[in-house]
Symmetry: C2
Subunit: 357 residues, 2 copies
Amino acid sequence: MIELTKNDIEALEIGTAILGTGGGGNPYYGKLHAIAEMEKGSKVNLISLSELDDDALVISVGNIGAPAVSMEKICEGNEIVRAIRAIEEDMGKKVDAIIPVEIGGANGLRPIAIAAITGLPLVDGDGMGRAFPEMQMTTYSIYGHCSVPAAMSDAHGNTVIFKNLVDEFWLERLARACVVQMGGGAGMVEAPMKGSFVKKYAVPGTVTQATNLGLAVMRSHVEKTNPIEEICAHENGKVLFEGKIVDLERNMVAGFTRGKVKMEGSGGFAQSQACIDIQNENLILKVNEAVVCSVPDLIIILDIETGHAITTEILRFGQKVAVLAIPCHPLLRSEKALKIIGPAAFGYPEIQYVPFN
Amino acid sequence: MIELTKNDIEALEIGTAILGTGGGGNPYYGKLHAIAEMEKGSKVNLISLSELDDDALVISVGNIGAPAVSMEKICEGNEIVRAIRAIEEDMGKKVDAIIPVEIGGANGLRPIAIAAITGLPLVDGDGMGRAFPEMQMTTYSIYGHCSVPAAMSDAHGNTVIFKNLVDEFWLERLARACVVQMGGGAGMVEAPMKGSFVKKYAVPGTVTQATNLGLAVMRSHVEKTNPIEEICAHENGKVLFEGKIVDLERNMVAGFTRGKVKMEGSGGFAQSQACIDIQNENLILKVNEAVVCSVPDLIIILDIETGHAITTEILRFGQKVAVLAIPCHPLLRSEKALKIIGPAAFGYPEIQYVPFN
């Protein structure tokens, strides 16, 4: 068990934004929330998968909603706490530890504040190793764990419990319909799991990974090294495009941010064009019309100077960017996983997933 | 306590359709369901409000969805039973009796089958004394009872529990969003009430009222008397228009059937025009542009020959109809009630409710 510091939280903001592949929401407010709780004297204890009791009750936590909404509609702060209490009441059991639903974006950071408020240990791992737009897209679901009972609670205190769903897609359908009514954002707690399951199927070590990634970027700023090279080295990634954003479509559709971003190349990529398809997250990268990287591998748009991630909601015309690919965790590359998070699952049956690197 | 007979159920189909004021869904499938359960030997015990223990746990039951959907998407049959079990599990208590959420339409009949399946007594009363399109429009809600915990379950078995809602409108919002995902129909159980509350605020005796109303229509067919006159005499109603349907608008909007029906007068109403505004139920009746009856009083379109109700989803061009008004129960006419179920609540702030008769 290690105790996270405020410097870790600063680094985590940078790292989770990068691993968010454009989506997962902006972690900035989650950082402020975590630091505010830590300044009250609350501690955040991070435990590794190996420290977890096989019989511990671990629950996946995060927010559900459109990233674009989360930029303006700030969390009340106790949404997830209320949802945890609702699940505990429903199950008649206390939760032993929480784990992020996804490490990418806001959901990689929000659990820090929740661990601080509740005093529950935070498990060093997550269900995606990145961010994905839908709820069935966790390794928990993919490897057979049922997401219900699940609970959601909004800023007003409205709380809904989902039970006995026919399959994992139903949680996504029903919770998404509710969050649209709730104004586009709510706390969501699901998949009460045993420690033994989490040890096997959570993407391991991702809180530490995101923290160290952020620290590497911070260090590059101090040491005046190239942050993008640092990120590539840290994550085994590669720059697949560099250029300027020349066109941008971004719409709110059924609670998601969907769109396309088009770029014209510069530097070594002059004369080339690239396009990224988005559903909250960056899904498909085409360079000169050819697919060069696709989900579940990570496609990340970085500010070419700072190496900071440019998330979907802050993309704008004229930005100078580098587009990075990072290989996803092997848990996301199995045949089982690709059915749920491969290109076809996002509406691209014509694209065959070819692992990047 | 009396045991309902199959003949009562036949009569109830006619009576609930009339009290449905065009909405509440067609009670036909509910009748078949009830009779099928009774033919297996199950009994349906109807108890009056006065027979109810003050401490009994009574729960409001019905289906939620658009009437138009219920014409084609037949209930699986155990939706409401699953929702009752989910509430019992959530509360850690057994339900003692069920009461219809509304007596009008399908929701006046479906609880019969549920009483037969579960063996629970059915309380002779309901929360509307008619049908209304939204969930906060019950006397239970109006007179201050909280509708949660509430549970809904669809034909597949997907089950959702609503808890800690900020106000009664939130149940309507969230449950409506879920039912749209569930294909437009689900079983809904809400407002676990004490017998003492139900005795005071349920619209009393409406199962018996609807049964006797149906029996009066059936008798008129045998005795060749005018069924519409029998209905008026039984319900203190009045024919406000007679004529032919000449125009019909009917759309599915956000899980509701909304529309307008226009009629040209005949008989004593020749040279007159009438128009009825619909949101699942008939809301406003205008004759020659003047409002002559509005919610919460009952506006009912009857087949001019048979006296059978023509529900919203089977209205069609050319039908010859009588339009009846029936006074609503005094519980629906209080200032408190009119805020929730008066014309303004349905988007007609310009219409002042004037009690019919």
